[in-house]
Subunit: 360 residues, 2 copies
């Protein structure tokens, strides 16, 4: 079964194609902005998901205070498009990056994160290059064992180092609590805040993160802003996390069935170079096929998706164009030079993914 829109996409652009529904995109932007407004938190969306200045501007026009980037290269694209309030939620390190960060400070109001003294020791080089003070927030690990200091005492120590560094100002704290760990995060934050206050510092930015954490929005007493990313498109992970419905999933991969291979098998023209091998935290199969939800995208070659149809009552024909909700949309978008925009059944045009591949 091929929808009329899928047939038009295949004819005009070919498959596999990443297609975003702008009606859904705008609805997702509005819903999360309203949720932030409701609890009095600023919204600072993470652009790692869409990597598009046009979509970042839509988020800001809807009320977002600024944006979050993970890499300098992303921030350069966004600042170049006129976005002027940017948090880079990442340890930036090395001469090459300090020179670029200094140049960025002349274009946008920059904040960066740090979780160790070596990174902080390097940042004054950027501030010196720009001649402007650089705001630095301390990243705190509140349970995920990813980046971030592991104790409030370390956070206080880094805050003091920042405040004592020429050209740097202590900006506050950045947290990404686990979905069930917000009371631990509160304890961590309260202790860190008391610690910095004891040294005469204030935390003007207290930033929480994550689309799955939208269900915890406002739970951290003292938070000033939230950094959701995936919500603009959503994906199987967000549906599994309970923060999105299938109707909120704004990006589909349109893919052609190019072979049936065997009676219980099928082959898509989308493989790991389109959908990536990301399991979305252990989801069954490599994406949901809307036309055949019981079909399992069981394995990948680089340009092939291998379907296991044993449990599927409906079976695609060769030539069918199907729509796939990816496991993890952020890594999928990162492989696309452009996405096709639609509104309902109408094709609007294409959108370049300007910050795609900006990995440094």
């Amino acid at each position: 079964m091929t929808t009329p829109l899928a047939a038009r996409i295949a004819r005009e652009y070919g498959t596999p194609a990443a297609v975003i529904d702008m009606d859904r995109v705008e609805r997702n932007i509005a819903r999360v902005q309203a949720a932030c407004d409701k609890v009095g938190l600023a919204n600072r969306p993470h652009i790692k998901t869409h990597k598009s200045p046009m979509l970042a501007r839509l988020q800001i026009e809807a009320g977002a205070k600024g944006i979050t980037c993970q890499k300098l290269g992303e921030a350069e694209v966004m600042a170049g498009a006129g976005i002027d309030d940017i948090l880079i939620s990442y340890n930036l390190l090395g001469e090459e990056k300090m020179a670029r960060l200094g140049a960025l400070q002349l274009k946008a109001n920059m904040t960066v994160a740090a979780d160790n003294p070596v990174v902080i020791a390097g940042l004054p080089q950027a501030a010196a290059a720009s001649g402007r003070p650089l705001s630095v927030v301390v990243e705190c690990d509140t349970g995920r064992k990813r980046a971030g200091v592991e104790t409030p005492a370390e956070a206080v120590e880094l805050a003091r180092q920042i405040a004592a560094s020429k050209g740097l100002t202590f900006g506050g704290f950045m947290l990404y609590p686990t979905e069930s760990g917000w009371s631990d995060a509160q304890k961590f934050y309260d202790e860190a805040l008391a610690g910095v206050r004891a040294h005469g510092l204030t935390a003007s930015m207290v930033s929480t993160g994550g689309t799955p954490n939208l269900k915890n929005l406002g739970k951290l007493n003292g938070a000033t802003e939230h950094r959701p990313g995936t919500y603009i498109y959503n994906d199987r992970m967000q549906v599994a996390a309970g923060v999105a419905t299938w109707d909120d999933c704004a990006l589909n991969i349109y893919s052609t069935v190019v072979s049936r291979a065997g009676p219980d098998r099928g082959i898509l023209d989308a493989g790991s170079k389109t959908l990536t091998s990301d399991t979305g935290g252990g989801l069954e199969g490599h994406g949901l096929i809307l036309e055949h939800p019981e079909a399992r995208i069981a394995r990948f070659a680089e340009e092939h998706g291998f379907l296991d149809l044993t449990r599927s009552n409906t079976r695609p024909n060769i030539g069918d164009v199907v729509r796939i909700v990816p496991n993890h949309v952020c890594v999928v978008v990162n492989m696309m030079d452009e996405v096709v925009m639609v509104r309902g059944e109408e094709i609007v045009g294409t959108l370049p993914i300007s910050a795609r591949g900006k990995l440094r």
Copy 2:
């Protein structure tokens, strides 16, 4: 520990960076060409690994008969750079693709693969658009359960359909035997060949595939050519398969340690958007760190690689630039706009990955 070259790469380009050693690239090209020459097989390297016309030309100058592409978009880039003998080892389907394939036939000598009657029924549209005959080989599944017909009888049936189609010529067979399945492949091929001969057809192209299958080169009696891809760079998968040594691995990801996070942990600035989540067929960890081979790249965020150092006697410092051999180099290259070329300790320059992201 940071090598002097790694320090220069970080200073001049920043990290993470994909770096290829051209001495190793040329050695890999020469070695595999010599192996093909020795057993009297033509070499038709698959460019999915490097996606660079410059490197494809090096392969042809070394003696390769032509190249293999997986997607039309890759073939368009290669034909645009003057490469004139191209096999697209893929079921191509749909009006949009047939128009492009017809246009490509005017630029290069094209062969395409097919494993089902629907795909074959569409191909005459390309031949008609070009006004030239199109050579079609039948893809045979000899044990992998990927693409390809499952029985010699089906292969013969498709060969007859091709031969009876206006504008198409039956070109032969394409196989990708499992590493231990070459006697099965021989049986399949012999039966299919006898079948087509009974109908007055000949198989002028009999193509086997795979870098891991270099150890089986020449084992299929009747084969005319081989399609190795990964051998130009190699990776952990090829070392595990026994067809490459660490010294044959020509591409490294240079990555900075941006945090130690905890005593037994470390964080790289390369995550799933640099190295991908590809496990390389179930390898332990997400890549080998040459400076710390006992460190495990245990988990990824999109831009972070999380190190488990519990079993590592040596531990990196924040700011160290390390070199990583990826699990699966083909999917890594597909995320890079460019690679940095070196020869030994000298930086040569950058090479654009012109066919990157050509997924359709």
